[in-house]
Symmetry: C2
Subunit: 335 residues, 2 copies
Amino acid sequence: MSTRHVWRLARRPAGLIVADDFRFGSEPIPELSEGQFLLRVRYLSLDPAQRVFIDDREQFLPPVELGAPMRGLVVGIVEKSNKEGVVEGTVLSGAGEWADYIVSDGTGLTELPSFPGLSLAATFGTFSLVGPTAYFGLLDITRPQPGETLVVSAAAGGVGQIVGQLGKLKGCRVIGIAGGPEKCTFVTEQLGFDACIDYKSVNVGEALDHLAPEGVDIYFEQVGGPIRNAVMERMKMFGRVSLCGIISEYNVADTDTQPSFWWTIMMRRLTIRGFIFDDYQARFPEAVENLAGWMQSGQLTTRQDTRQGLENAVSSLQDLYSGRNFGKLLLEVTP
Amino acid sequence: MSTRHVWRLARRPAGLIVADDFRFGSEPIPELSEGQFLLRVRYLSLDPAQRVFIDDREQFLPPVELGAPMRGLVVGIVEKSNKEGVVEGTVLSGAGEWADYIVSDGTGLTELPSFPGLSLAATFGTFSLVGPTAYFGLLDITRPQPGETLVVSAAAGGVGQIVGQLGKLKGCRVIGIAGGPEKCTFVTEQLGFDACIDYKSVNVGEALDHLAPEGVDIYFEQVGGPIRNAVMERMKMFGRVSLCGIISEYNVADTDTQPSFWWTIMMRRLTIRGFIFDDYQARFPEAVENLAGWMQSGQLTTRQDTRQGLENAVSSLQDLYSGRNFGKLLLEVTP
């Protein structure tokens, strides 16, 4: 345990990420100073925003610097501690690196609660990012009402699957949009969505006209591009759009080539609101408590897509942008 | 009083309206049926949305039909009544036509309250449309907080002048955007805005960088185009945009050629919300009471730009789209 493995940013990518954008290597683990501890990373969370972190465009955190360890949320176990109040064996999660061992003073890390019946992967995978994102991004940003029609893009992804189920819990009619019959069957049959549009095989607009002839009250937006355009054209009066992500634009330089819909927003009195889960940090306990309760009672299912081995971080992240993940993407870094 | 004058829609305009898009004529006033009354129109309100009413694009009311009287808000005096409860001499305002006399059953019309010290033009000009628009569009849609920076486009127009003054009443720093030194001097010296950008003589973005180096919390949007783009680029984290109008796009067919700012909305957690004053009809008394109080106490100034004669309706309306109005545009139809 004298060396660690870590991915560092080698250059700013152009377009889709490739292996050479990062550098994988090993390096000595420094001695712990007073107030530091050594975290062994169990899981690394792979999320769409990580593509944004390595660009120098506008974003919600400073970009990862060239040569710096790649940023990501982690959960790990304290193996050695020189910090008062942090005991060995404690499970901590939060801001971390693409590494198997991290020397930390605790900044950005908090204790991950454990819940009977929920695995570490499900707990970390759900509560670290996608759960609060879905919880606040749907419930707080759009305030869904019973009987309303909710459309969720990236429906089989980490956030989408939870958003749709929360919509059902709130009495909405939920239509997912996902790529491929397997994902669509999953969200309708396993997660209870009312319908799912396979954007790879049908025209999204026509499918919406059929499934929601009166239009869409709430759109949970994660993708951008033609899917967003199709839904925007079908928003109902006083509709709400929760702008959570634009994954189709993370790999392109000019993001502003899509229709703006200012006219539609005005005439239909729509509300478009951007948010980032971190804005709600003070209310995370509320989200975790409610989500865990629904998971434990079987009302909420969360699917993880867990890959193995830190060396596969880049290839796993690539899968996010081609839709080859199926559920919340995690990397099991150490056993 | 056996004939009336009326403007009818002759054809759907292409681009800027011209005189031939309308037909001015006189016609016999029909006998009043039971339940009808004759309203003599005192003032006609001329508003940007009237250009939209005569297009067949998406809008919030059905478009005015070809050959039908042109639609507009009016205030008038009941001259003759066959309707129980409506007595001669009553002052009514609401949905009407571009005409000097209107036979009505009262649909869409309500009694206009009168306030000591306020003229009929000021009362009708303020409370019929621009006052509630400014009141709800600023206070409800954006919830301004003391110390926030509010930018108001079309600042010397009917809505803008009230929005800026309400912003000052709420403790905001208010920056207007208007065309020409006369209008800018008016909003800073007469209305108390903190600053005004003359978009005809300076670059709006550069002026904002100077006047609001930390960015814009609230944007009251009425114009679209490059002015909107300049403000959107300078929105602060958690900023709000009240989307009230897009006057630069009312005369063009394709309205969706402007940047969309989806990325900015997401990364800065902005809220963009469209509204129309009519959505708040149930709360009009609240707006009227508060606005009248501020006007009577001298805390709110409203400037009308009153033109004379029904025959000048089209040329007056044209002035709205070239910025040649100065204050709320009204037409005095009969003395």
